[in-house]
């Protein structure tokens, strides 16, 4: 078996365990390549039956329009159910307070919307596309990762996870986060997309976009990011290496217009993909801090 076959087989096994061990599992779908791959794997795991998981999208209201288009097409093609949790609604209801200033982002606010969506839909397992190679806190997280009644992760007391035996037992009100592609690297994901010919949002390929430069990276010039007077808008050939919401997605200058180009670019790059994510740069343990509180 090749490494991609083995990774695929492991992920499909995890997805089937999730369907078997939980009452109301769901896929957390961001429109990024990792959640697209997870959805593709889930389709394969249960074919010819319908996907046994709805897709849940936590919408900050600051998404690229290409992401939403892609999401809606995919849902239609798979005949899947889509559940949208709206951060705007959480703001309107006074559940969270919007950040202000130049670096304002709704990224952190998503946690509240996510936990509210999980609770109101009674989801007991949320499947995510996080990978252990992405970030040092994620490198320590279990594949079946327990969350307490408050949605919190306790990194100091995780259940040991041995062989391929997963323990999804929990008390009322608790839930699990499931990470089927924990053992994949960024390169594995791209190679798999290439091998399986998976369609992606056009944002991943090079395109011309109005951008501006801040703190060492290019950002999209969109109304949801407040620009400083000196931040000049220019047109650039760019693509996204990861896709989050507009406020925290750094754009890479790139001419890559095929998966092969992207693979070559990934192989040559010397910066991690989360290097372009403003949300991780807030402190040394930004990811662990957010995860403890219930973030993706």
């Amino acid at each position: 078996m090749t490494h991609l076959n083995e990774l695929e087989a492991e992920s499909i096994y995890i997805l089937r365990e999730t369907a078997a061990q939980f009452q109301r599992p769901a896929i957390l779908f961001s429109g990024g390549k990792d959640s697209i791959v997870v959805t593709h794997l889930a389709y394969k795991a249960f074919y010819p039956a319908k996907l046994p998981f709805p897709l849940v999208h936590i919408d900050t209201g600051h998404n690229f329009k290409e992401t939403i288009e892609y999401r809606d097409n995919l849902v239609k093609r798979l005949g899947a159910d889509l559940i949208v949790g709206s951060v705007q609604e959480s703001i309107d209801k006074g559940r969270v307070k919007e950040e202000t200033g130049y670096n304002a982002s709704r990224n952190a606010l998503q946690t509240t919307t996510l936990l509210d969506t999980i609770e109101s839909n009674k989801f007991d397992a949320c499947i995510g596309g996080a990978r252990r190679d992405e970030e040092k806190a994620r490198a320590k997280e279990r594949i079946f990762s327990h969350r307490d009644e408050f949605g919190q992760w306790n990194p100091k007391n995780q259940r040991p996870e041995l062989w391929n035996i997963f323990n999804g037992k929990k008390n009322q009100g608790e839930h699990f986060r499931i990470f089927p592609i924990s053992n994949w690297t960024e390169m594995d994901v791209w190679q798999y997309i290439y091998k399986e010919k998976i369609e992606l949002p056009s944002l991943y390929y090079t395109h011309t976009r109005k951008c501006f430069y801040r703190d060492g990276q290019w950002l999209a010039a969109e109304p949801c990011i407040k620009r400083r007077p000196e931040e000049e808008v220019v047109e650039k050939q760019v693509r996204c290496r990861t896709i989050g919401d507009i406020t925290c997605t750094g754009l890479t200058l790139s001419a890559a217009h095929t998966i092969e180009d992207i693979i070559a670019e990934t192989a040559a790059t010397r910066v991690t993909e989360r290097g372009g994510r403003a949300d991780d740069k807030r402190s040394e343990t930004a990811m662990e801090d957010r995860k403890i509180n219930g973030y993706f």
Partner: protein, 420 residues
């Protein structure tokens, strides 16, 4: 180049080590020399090292990702790291080496094909060297590579290296040690890590990375088919009205269309009609693949059942077992207390009827007359389950021979067992 990468093999290995034996330096070097550490990661580690007052860049900060670990400067939990060369993709389960983290070592070893054991050339074989080898052996790792590190500090002496090999063989002869190889290295300077070192002209073997790229990954010797049913796929649609697929991951052997299959524990027999991977129909499948199987007869099969080759060497079906166990929880393991037992895709109630003996993890001596097991204890115990399980010894097959124990109230994973 895209295609070149598509057919690589996957090797999972574990490393166990203590603070000073150079484990983090070795992993850091493997990652760095294979270009798996990115500039922003290195910068972040340099920053973090400086703010902690470390003079050198502390590569341990790459793997010690949790706040508590970074504060205390120790590895607590298993960290998984990834790197690839053009020949193989590697998954490292990096575990702490101290005796109080035995459970983490056991966890890391459970999925590994190979274990790297580090010895400081100045100190030779220590208690922990043999302890780590014991755990690797217990968890059925089929190959151990002993890296004798810090060879630069003993003038790359062949005599020192040879003596360590002899000592290791002598001190580990009571263990059922698998195939073992020895490599003299200096992780700090890179000798025999990626490139063969001029300092050890007397060493005729491969440098570590080349060794990892080429070492043979053992599969099960028995080729009889074994698969636990995970999920029954039943589309409620006109197009697939009669479709009933048994989904699972093949634990052993090969499967072809037309093969005779026995369902355990029921003993019902049928033949294979179709093998699916997603929408793709296959003519055969093998160990490790996740498939969806249809049969020619309409029989009662559900999650937890096993599909196996219908021949004379069937797995056993029983509700009493002798197992090796490692206890993971601060609340002790008690005899006659009920636990949830998870085995392959089956879940049953179980209780321990006796503790045959406990093993002193440092000396591997047997301790008798034990009434309960504490956190990190390893023992041989008698287990009884409420319903029979379909199993083989852990030595024969890891999927059919492994168990975990779950506390019925806290639902924590409190122990791991290997059927003898």
């Amino acid at each position: 180049m895209a295609n070149g990468y598509l057919d690589m093999q996957l090797l999972r290995f574990t490393t166990a080590g203590s603070v000073d034996d150079g484990k983090s330096t070795l992993i850091g070097r493997l990652l760095y020399d294979s270009k798996s550490i990115f500039e922003d990661q290195l910068e972040a580690v340099e920053q973090a090292s400086k703010s902690r007052g470390n003079e050198d860049v502390n590569l341990a900060l790459l793997t010690d990702g949790l706040k508590a670990e970074r504060e205390q400067g120790i590895t607590i939990d298993v960290a998984y790291r990834y790197f690839a060369t053009p020949k193989r993709k590697f998954i490292i389960a990096d575990t702490p080496g101290h005796i109080q983290y035995t459970r983490n070592m056991v966890t890391g070893a459970s999925t590994a094909d190979l274990a790297i054991i580090l010895i400081d050339a100045r100190h030779g074989v220590m208690e922990q060297t043999i302890r780590h080898s014991y755990i690797a052996t217990l968890l059925g790792i089929s190959r151990i590579v002993v890296c004798v590190n810090k060879m630069d500090l003993v003038d790359f002496s062949k005599d020192v290296f040879d003596k360590i090999i002899a000592d290791y063989k002598e001190m580990s002869k009571h263990l059922d040690i698998p195939d073992t190889d020895f490599i003299p290295i200096s992780a700090k300077n890179g000798d025999n890590v990626v490139n063969k070192s001029d300092n050890t002209a007397w060493y005729t073997g491969k440098p570590l990375l080349e060794y990892l790229e080429t070492v043979e990954i053992k599969k099960s010797e028995n080729q009889d088919f074994r698969m636990a049913v995970q999920y029954v796929v039943r589309p409620i649609s006109d197009k697939f009205a009669d479709f009933r697929g048994y989904a699972g991951r093949i634990a052993q052997g090969f499967l072809h269309i037309g093969d005779k299959i026995k369902v355990l524990p029921s003993g019902t027999v049928s033949t294979v009609k179709g093998i699916f991977s997603g929408a793709q129909e296959l003519s055969e499948a093998q160990e490790g693949e996740s498939v969806n199987i249809t049969l020619n007869d309409d029989i009662d099969i559900s999650r937890g059942d096993f599909l196996v080759s219908d021949n004379t060497t069937l797995p056993k079906v029983d509700n009493q077992f002798v197992i090796n166990i490692c206890w993971f929880n601060s609340s002790p393991m008690q005899i006659r207390k009920k636990y949830i037992v998870r085995h392959a895709t089956q879940e049953v109630q179980g209780l321990f009827t006796a503790i045959d003996f406990k093993v002193d993890i440092s000396t591997q001596e047997k301790i008798h007359d034990v009434n309960e097991l504490q956190l990190n204890d390893i023992a041989q115990v008698q287990l009884k389950t409420a319903n029979p399980l379909v199993f083989e010894s852990y030595k024969q097959n890891k999927v059919l021979g492994s168990l975990i124990f779950v506390d019925p109230f806290s639902f924590e994973t409190v122990g791991a067992g290997m059927i003898i």
